[in-house]
Symmetry: C2
């Protein structure tokens, strides 16, 4: 058990930015919103999944939409409204909240609703990274129902996706509502039990995000290499190092989609890396050959400071290192890959686990 | 009180086709579906609004989508599923059903759900005609909340539009779900009281539809003019008479939209009528001058048989008479016109009531 205070937020923002693989909502905007919530309603208790009481009722909350829109149309208390909507629908109150994805601002989305509702959050999430689509959660891969779920906007509109024939249909209907709501909304899913959280969540990811941020900040303060500090905290490797020479980005069907091209420098001189993204980085190609795919993490950070760069802020001329991290074990099973492997995103290629 | 049997359905189909002003869902498809339901579950009792018990709980059900799609992707029991979904949500069972709109197949949509559920239907509806958008109901114009409402598809997906800041937002969110569901779905709205039905519904429209159908059939059988028979049953006038020479129709944003051009014959020789439609006929222009607009009814029937022609089946070469009927009184108030007058459809023109 620990407590998230204002002081932790900049570290969580860095760590969640790295784990966000380019998406998950802008971490800086998320940090500002979480700071406002904690100032107003107080710090939030973080429980290890094992610390949940037996009769826990854990509601997953998160943002949905295109990160390109989320930086202009900043969220307010939509996750709290979605929480209340799903509580009303199921006739049961949450006793704790859990993040849908630790990446980006979704790391702190439950903190905001929890601060307002006076609830703890669980030190775990449904991805251990970020993914663009609602159904891409370890919870649902391992048997937690994805419905009913509530979607709420900032204006006062809310819907319940009551029943669907598959998790993909829940994504489809929730996304259609989100687009109408202006491409920015929040959702909350019907409660999970303690056992469901323990068996299906990726554990201790809020702690990991915070620790990653600490490691980066310590390296910056002491003049050490922030990339080495990141890799010492979360095992992975440097996939590429270079300068962004092209960003092709469009906001379409409720997502930020596109590709970026990086020209190598130093040991990668003369090579080029192409990364496709759909909110998050999906596939990395080195001179045309795939070298890393979902569900492994493909993360862009500035070379000098280790600052994560999200896809909506990626721009020409940035010097970035591309880091790769192996996916959490819950994703590398056949069930996990069916939901979030390269074929789930339309790529005609198998998952080749990243070696570290 | 009367009972709808199989024998009534062809008459209702004709009358509802006329009152549908081109839309409301294909009446022939609706007739076949209602026949199947009545054969399977028995005839349906029709109650006058005044015959409702004081504690009545009246649920409005209807189809939503594009009629162009509805003739290919025929509805099944979606209205029944939507009914059960909204009953579950509000924790209250319906004691009677009411049509959202008397036009087209929506005249019989409640009969289908009512036959299956063993409920009566009310002899009234929320339009006295057909309109393309969900919020365009006299119920909502005169204070009945439009939410919560449920939308269900044929696959097993359902959503609840739980709360919206306006009836237009309910339409927006329900339409977005409908498009995902394949442009064909059904909905059910939270229950109305007896007083709400009496004060806000257009009364006795199922009886009117049946009587119109009887009048047309009698004229056909006896060799009389079916147009005269229609106008004797429902006061209105012939706006135009001619041959369809152009139909520009596209299925877009969940609607069948377009325009048709008719060249005059007989006393209209040398003149042309242009009709814009969005599922339903909205505005009629004679040689460029507007001669009739929503909420007044603009109805196309074949000249020789008085058979209504819906916009999705309108085609080159058809000989049609265009009939105009004054809107029900509930629509010609400022409140009614704000929701379903020409300006509500984007026309920069005031409503000029049709004189009969």
């Amino acid at each position: 058990m620990w407590t998230v205070t204002e002081a932790d937020l900049p570290y969580i923002a860095i760590g969640a930015g790295i784990l966000g693989t380019g998406g998950g909502g802008n971490p800086y905007v998320g940090q500002l919103r979480a700071r406002q919530a904690i100032r107003r309603w107080g710090p939030v208790t973080v429980l290890d999944p094992e610390e949940l009481p037996d009769d826990a009722s854990v509601i997953c909350v998160g943002g949905i939409g295109a990160p390109t829109v989320g930086v202009e149309k900043v969220r307010d208390l939509q996750s709290y409204h979605a929480l209340r909507a799903i509580e009303d629908f199921v006739g049961e109150k949450a006793t704790a909240l859990i993040s849908n994805e630790i990446g980006g601002s979704n790391s702190v989305e439950p903190l905001i609703a929890a601060a307002k509702a006076g609830l703890p959050v669980v030190d775990a999430d449904g991805m251990g990274r970020a993914f663009p689509e609602f159904q891409m959660k370890t919870f649902f891969v391992y048997g937690v129902p994805c419905c009913p779920m509530a979607v709420a906007d900032e204006k006062g509109n809310s819907i319940i996706v009551r029943e669907t024939i598959s998790p993909v249909w829940a994504e489809r209907l929730a996304r259609a509502a989100t687009i109408q709501m202006g491409c920015v909304a929040c959702y909350a899913v019907a409660p999970m039990t303690r056992d469901q959280v323990i068996n299906t969540a990726v554990p201790n990811t809020l702690t990991l995000a915070r620790d990653l941020g600490h490691a980066v900040q310590r390296a910056r303060d002491s003049g050490d290499d922030p990339l080495a500090a990141i890799l010492a905290t979360c095992p992975g490797r440097i996939l590429f190092n270079g300068k962004v020479v092209d960003v092709d980005r469009r906001t379409t069907s409720g997502f930020a989609r596109g590709a970026l091209t990086i020209e190598g420098i130093d040991e990668f001189n003369g090579q080029a890396l192409l990364i496709d993204f759909q909110n998050e980085n999906l596939v990395a190609r080195l001179d045309g050959d795939i070298i890393c795919t979902v569900p492994d993490l493909i993360c862009a950070v500035t070379t000098d400071t280790g600052e994560p760069v999200t896809t909506e802020l990626m721009r020409y001329g940035l010097r970035v290192a591309i880091l790769g991290f192996p996916a959490p074990a819950l994703w590398s099973t056949p069930e996990g890959l069916a939901v979030a492997g390269p074929r789930a995103f339309g790529y005609d290629t198998d998952y080749l686990p990243l070696t570290v």
